[in-house]
């Protein structure tokens, strides 16, 4: 599915050809792996306590992700139209599904490119010696280091202060951070130029394999760090307690959809470029499995490094206590060590309890450090930059890593932009006189201006909102309607015939059962449970507040009401198009404007596309 720019026809005259099997496979892999694997999956894993998230994730992959992926690839390949055309041809009342996909792609592009902008910012800053996140800056009168940096870590400080300049809560918007605006402008410019230029199929040899190479290097390095094993145990230990929370299942399903780019509309467009006889079943299984394997593979170094960070924090905490005890009781240097700390503490506490309590020693617990090391959208940035400063030749590793992230994000942005621009063309919203380049530039400019909200002081909080509310519930609702449309309205029998025509055999019982029963049921149950739970609890967010009592822990604040209203809007606006278009078509049909016969109105709509 090589990118050939906007001129590709939907009718199917120009068909790109693969030079060989390897190229096709690598393109599939490159398509499957994106920022979602390296940035989003570990972040979700960490929120849900590591190993607990893997169970719903794998279940969601098998029963929701793969069936839906196969479905989208198949209908795109068979009907050979973009997402708008496909749903219109299945049933004009379901044309809204395509529009909903477009709106979701639009909203996701907004915050996705902001992450690419963050990557660019870090990339620009990697060309310095020493790396700016490796040490704390001095305060005003050079008497010590900046307090916020000392209390957390230089890496955290660089992320929260120097990159985001984050405000303590959402009500405080702060101002536009000019360096972020500049990075965002660069990101959109690069996306634009790469999009209108297209890419060569042979570039896929580098772009698909490079991320694996870099991840492997980091994996090897991470495993040699002390404390990494604790992180890995944390990742792979299943803990069934969070599984009762429907949010976990929702996030697992949305992560699968987000990562596979299902329900975005881009997949249908891409597969419409395939030849009709392509084995899309094999493609779907391959892409799905490789995608999830890559996600897990990417989280291994992340969690190893989290273990290392937690271990370092634990040792630092203990050493602080040891120093305090040694100085207070004038014990010989290094007599108290990390190993015998407990015995010394007990004996000293027994003999001089008042003096010991006056010292205000901190409680050092490794598990606590593991739980709270870094979370949220900054996880990948904080963790990998931490790893990089402990490697020799840090600048090289930092540049390598951020170039990898950038290329991952860029290739995904192509899919997102395709999901926005192709429907706009299909809906005839483009003026005839406007050349493609100009229209694309206009769209990029508008998206850039809207995404400036993410460059405000409170921008990160808004990004998390977009991430949680746009990249989640709407995807599930769209996926639900897609399955219903194909399995029940198009008809499973007709669909099986198409699949037989394309792949040479009818779909086996697993696929049929999934499409007919399991996937829609699971989606429905998860959605209902999620809405029920959300209606009861007030959602909260972690805020970075240096004045907080327990700083460097993040302060958990509830969303203000107006923000919550925006969250609901974000979830509902994309999907509102589904009933809207259905009602519109109904009205049109009933008023008899097109014709009395609904089938000919379908034909006329299809012809118009």
């Amino acid at each position: 599915m090589p990118e050939e720019g906007m001129e590709n026809s939907k009718g199917g005259e120009e068909r790109p050809k693969w030079n060989n099997k390897a190229e096709y496979l690598l393109t599939c892999i490159g398509f499957a792996v994106g920022l979602g694997n390296v940035w989003r999956f570990p972040y979700l894993c960490q929120i849900y306590g590591g190993g607990a998230f893997l169970i719903p994730y794998l279940i969601a992959l098998v029963f929701q992700g793969l069936p839906l992926l196969y479905l989208e690839l198949a209908i795109g390949q068979r009907l050979r139209m973009g997402s708008i055309g496909v749903w219109n041809s299945i049933s004009p009342y379901l044309g809204g599904v395509g529009v909903a996909s477009m709106v979701v792609s639009l909203c996701v592009s907004l915050f996705y490119n902001t992450i690419v902008a963050w990557v660019l910012w870090y990339l620009f800053n990697s060309f310095q010696e020493p790396l700016p996140w490796s040490q704390c800056p001095l305060n005003h009168n050079n008497t010590g280091y900046v307090e916020e940096c000392v209390e957390s870590t230089p890496v955290n400080y660089f992320w929260y202060r120097k990159t985001l300049n984050i405000t303590p809560n959402m009500e405080t918007s702060g101002s536009l951070q000019w360096w972020m605006v500049v990075s965002l402008a660069t990101a959109w410019s690069i996306v634009y130029i790469c999009f209108i230029r297209g890419s060569r199929p042979s570039a896929v040899y580098v772009t698909a394999t490079f991320p694996y190479l870099v991840l492997t290097i980091f994996l090897v390095r991470a495993l040699t760090l002390p404390g990494s094993s604790e992180g890995l145990i944390y990742l792979f230990t299943p803990d069934v307690r969070p599984l009762s929370n429907p949010q976990v299942w929702l996030d697992a399903a949305t992560q699968i959809f987000f990562s596979l780019s299902v329900a975005f509309g881009g997949l249908i467009s891409f597969s419409s470029y395939n030849s009709q006889k392509n084995n899309c079943e094999r493609d779907a299984v391959l892409v799905g499995v490789i995608n999830s394997a890559t996600s897990i593979y990417a989280s291994i170094p992340i969690f190893a490094i989290l273990g290392f960070k937690a271990h370092t924090n634990y040792v630092t905490c203990l050493n602080g206590n040891i120093l305090a005890l040694t100085n207070e009781f004038d014990i010989s240097d290094m007599n108290i060590t990390v190993e015998n700390y407990e015995q010394w503490f007990d004996s000293l506490n027994g003999t001089h309890p008042s003096r010991v309590s006056d010292l205000n020693l901190k409680t050092c617990d490794l598990q606590t450090f593991l739980d709270q090391s870094a979370s949220g959208t900054g996880l990948a940035f904080i963790v990998f930059t931490e790893a990089v400063i402990s490697m020799p030749g840090s600048q090289v590793w930092a540049v390598l890593f951020f170039i990898m992230l950038f290329s991952l994000g860029l290739s995904s942005m192509f899919g997102n932009l395709e999901g926005v621009l192709t429907p706009l063309h299909d809906l005839k919203l483009v003026p005839k006189w406007m050349p493609n380049e100009l229209f694309t530039a206009l769209i990029c400019l508008v998206l850039f201006l809207v995404s400036l909200i993410f460059t405000l002081g409170s921008g990160n909080y808004w990004l998390e909102i977009f991430n949680s509310y746009v990249g989640s519930v709407p995807l599930l609702i769209i996926a639900f309607f897609e399955i219903i449309a194909v399995a029940y309205i198009y008809g499973i029998g007709r669909f099986s015939d198409d699949l037989e025509f394309m792949t040479g055999h009818r779909p086996n019982i697993f696929w049929k059962v999934c499409w007919l029963v399991i996937s829609p049921l699971m989606l429905f149950v998860v959605l209902v449970a999620y809405v029920a739970v959300q209606a009861q609890t007030h959602p909260t967010y972690p805020a970075w507040n240096p004045d907080y009592v327990n700083f460097p822990d993040t302060e958990v604040l509830p969303y203000p009401d107006w923000v919550f209203a925006i969250c609901v809007l974000l979830s509902s606006v994309p999907v509102i198009f589904i009933p809207l278009v259905a009602i519109y078509r109904l009205i049109c049909c009933m008023s008899g404007r097109h014709s009395e016969d609904p089938t000919s109105s379908v034909l006329s709509v299809v012809m118009a596309l």
Binding site: E13, E14, L120, W121, L123, F124, N125, F127, Q128, Q135, P137, L138, N142, T143, G144, Y145, W179, V182, S183, A185, T186, S189, I190, Y192, I193, I196, R197, T326, N327, D330, I331, S332, D333, M334, P435, E437
Partner: protein
């Protein structure tokens, strides 16, 4: 005889006097804390009288460098209250007047390193702390003078942040690329339009390539030829 007794008394009394001058929490004294094992690990040396002598010598050295006029000696640095930690108190007495203690502020000035942006100049007053640390293979953290905060070396701050330079290069390349692409696509369109306007010759050439037995062998639908009339004229 009397002189001898006086000298004897002086020799005995002075150290005793000196000892009373040096006390824990003395107003003009500093406490020093040394952590050799933390700094050196396996290569830690033993703290004994010889090391203490070195400490007194380096302190005298620091005082000499600061004051320049007075010659301090090892016995002007009086040490007391040594613990296992290793920590001890010390005071500095004036070489001329053994009963007079050098005030705390002056001792601090002599010891602490001043921050400068310039590289380390061995002959300046600053960097005494640096020399003291080096004499013991220790750092500011492991050789602590309680009450004297080490001032930190200011990092180098270039005028233009390096990231701005990289950004400038990247954005320049991107804009150049965009302009080049737009211009080239514009030129291509102009060329296509010119090709359509020209009558006959170009079309005939193109047609000749794909024509065999009167059948057009163009496989790809060429959008440039949308005017069917011209086609059939041939």
């Amino acid at each position: 005889m009397l002189v001898r007794i006086l000298v004897l008394l002086y020799l005995v009394g002075a150290p005793a006097l000196a000892q009373t001058l040096c006390q824990p929490n003395a107003s003009n004294g500093y406490r020093v804390r040394i952590s050799i094992k933390t700094a050196l690990g396996n290569q830690a040396y033993e703290w004994n009288e010889n090391e203490m002598f070195l400490f007194q010598a380096t302190m005298a050295f620091a005082m000499r460098r600061y004051y320049k006029t007075e010659t301090y000696n090892v016995d002007n640095i009086i040490v007391c209250n040594q613990t296992r930690r290793v920590s001890f108190w010390f005071v500095v007495i004036s070489p001329e007047n053994p009963t007079m203690l050098i005030p705390k502020a002056d001792v601090e000035k002599a010891v602490s390193a001043l921050t400068t942006r310039l590289p380390c100049r061995p002959m300046s007053n600053s960097m005494s702390r640096h020399r003291i640390n080096n004499a013991f293979l220790l750092t500011d953290r492991t050789l602590e003078f309680l009450g004297i905060h080490p001032t930190l070396a200011e990092p180098v701050n270039p005028d233009t942040p390096p990231w701005l330079i990289v950004f400038g290069v990247v954005i320049g390349a991107v804009f150049a690329g965009i302009i080049a692409l737009l211009v080239s696509s514009l030129l291509q369109k102009r060329r296509k339009e010119k090709g359509m306007m020209e009558d006959g010759q170009d079309e005939e050439d193109r047609q000749m390539k794909g024509v065999e037995n009167g059948i057009n062998l163009d496989g790809i639908y060429n959008r440039g030829f949308t005017d069917d009339d011209r086609f059939t004229k041939l």
